[in-house]
Amino acid sequence: MARITFQRLEDHSTLFWGLLGLHALIVALGLGAAYYMEHHGHVVTGMNNAVVWGMPHVFAVFLIVSASGALNVASISSVFNKLAYKPFARLSGILAIALLVGGLIVLVLDLGRPDRLTVAMTTYNFKSIFAWNIYLYIGFIAIVGVYLFTMMDRGVSQTPTATRTVGWLAFGWRLALTTGTGSIFGFLVAREAFDSAIMAPLFIAASFLYGLAFTVLVLFTMCRETRQMLMGEEMIQSFRGLMIVFSFALLYFTAVKHLTSLYASEHHGVEAFILRDGGIYTALFWIGHVLVGNILPIAILAFGSGEARPFSERQAMTIASVLALMGGLAFMYVTIIGGQAYPLNLFPGMETSSSFLDGEVARYAPSLPEVMLGVAGISIAMLVVGIAIKVLPFLPRGESVTA
């Protein structure tokens, strides 16, 4: 293989500026929405005392999970020593940081007291998984930053062991990070929908898929922007294969989670709620997560492209990635909101009711500001990537890949 060279994005099309401007606008709207929520209180959102985490958390957790997955390509290249992935390692690293930053900003802006960020950063309860997560997130950004440095610095990049060592560290850290994110839910004994150790591997499988989908979409956008073939046919085939595998893994862990849960009779109620009787949650689970998020992408990737098929490889990948990400949001919605909507079981076997709406399936209708804030998280990530690739050479040069 020829020497890999990298480039900054130098001439930009109107499309690039248009996209950047659009993201900037969405971010501005999101910040405005956050201010509005902070000013009036969360009463202007759909969140309440039963569904305490709403749309912002759906987006934030989605982005954080995707962030660790976005690092896959870099990990494959340096940890598993696959040279073919190397041209994309830098982009994968910066995308991982960007997605995490986007998710974290949404999380912080949704706090009841975002002005107390310094308290959150300086006062810790070390028993709290949330507090560990703060370390995991900060550590992730730092380690991936160093990792990028070892890849991009002229001097350091000459010593492959440095990149490999940090690459391993980053790989281990990203697994810990997703485990930590999954465990935010997994250790809640009170919430039957989450209380399961399988939440961690489930989230890891999800992260692989969503992270790759983001990577693919950014790469295709950049191909268009640079008018270069950043990815050769072989690479597209590899990505396609990976995506199918990740999607199957996610389906597998989804099945395991619900089957093990069904095995325990005390969880029959919540399983019936998600899988059968939950209305919007049931629909989002089967149609959003299972069908749109996994089965359709697998089908399109496996059978949709090639000679005499409806799509080109690239189109198939693009559509599959978009569908996987849409399914990802549905999956987060079902997991996070559905899990809270199902009432707490204060008296197993009995029915409860009160002025505090005990025993009822909680109502939740997301309001515009909270959706705005959530979407802004994605735009923040894209803005960070857009600026980064303009400032530093994160993108491979087209020729090198086809060489």
Binding site: L111, S128, S354
Partner: protein, 286 residues
């Protein structure tokens, strides 16, 4: 952009006067927050100390504090400069045979005492205590009980709180420190009893002894301000006043106390004890 003016002064944003009082509160009750298993920590800015100080130094002259409540118990009353003692484990016992389903005097009393009220938005209004109706699916029989923070000895809300704002005092009372609560609501996710409320809207008319704040989480404090003064929680008092005396408050660690004797003598139940939370609220005749 978002910083509050009073926060800049070191205030809690809850409308209490802590900003102007932070230093003397810190001095007077520097060891109030004695968390079980930990050394007494300096916690100059904790809201409830401020409340206690405000109470004893401005509302009532020092030394007269103990007279503030008719039923004050000198064995339990804690002078403001003394640390909370792990000798006590405060708890409640509620005898459901004496708790009529139509009565909600405990709820009204709590609301009056602590300044929370229903605004007709049941989904977002705070409720520190509520009457819960429990119906048996099989035979349709039902009963009701007061439900509030169970002051768990192993409180999941405290375990998960990232900042340590949710904490358990050495005497078993579980509180939220309104100064360091960031409003993440993780404690609400973790509490098995739906005992906590998030403040969704700006508040007014707060009680000086029960500061609250938009964007923070709160729950039953077991009327800690009364307990520290040797009194009993408002709900318990109201229940007795209504002639039911279904609720008793006391020190579960003191074998001579009525609550400890009742727990030792009768079959009592704690809700979702199976989750390992070790609640401090016992129900009799459930």
């Amino acid at each position: 952009m978002i910083a509050k003016a009073d926060e800049a002064n070191g205030g809690c944003g809850a409308g209490c006067s802590c900003a102007t009082r932070a230093s003397d509160a810190g001095e007077a009750t520097a060891t109030t927050r004695t968390v079980e298993g930990a050394d007494p920590v300096d916690v100059g800015r904790r809201w409830f100390m401020k409340a206690a100080t405000a109470f004893s130094t401005t509302v009532i002259a020092p030394g007269v504090t103990l007279m503030a409540f008719a039923e004050s118990d000198p064995a339990i009353a804690r002078p403001a400069d003394q640390p909370v003692s792990s000798k006590h484990r405060f708890g409640l016992l509620i005898d459901l045979a004496k708790c009529p389903s139509g009565c909600s005097d405990c709820v009204t009393a709590c609301s009056t005492e602590n300044g929370w009220k229903l605004n007709g938005r049941p989904e977002t209004d705070a409720q520190w205590i509520r009457k819960l109706t429990v119906t048996n699916r099989k035979d349709g029989s039902s009963f009701s009980l007061p439900m509030m923070c169970q002051h768990c000895a192993d409180p999941p809300c405290v375990d998960v709180c990232p900042t340590g704002a949710s904490f358990k005092r050495a005497d078993g009372i579980v509180l939220v420190d309104k100064h360091i609560c960031i409003g993440c609501r993780y404690c609400m996710m973790a509490c098995p009893y739906k005992a906590r409320s998030f403040i969704h809207e700006p508040l007014e008319d707060q009680k000086p002894h029960a500061p609250r704040g938009k964007g923070c989480v709160e729950s039953c404090t077991m009327c800690v301000h009364r307990v520290d003064a040797g009194g009993t929680p408002a709900c318990v008092e109201a229940c007795a006043k209504a002639g039911h005396s279904a609720m008793i408050f006391g020190d579960l660690n003191d074998p001579a106390s009525e609550i400890a004797k009742r727990v030792a003598t009768y079959r009592t139940t704690r809700i979702r004890d199976d989750l390992g939370t070790d609640p401090g609220v016992y129900y009799q005749n459930l």
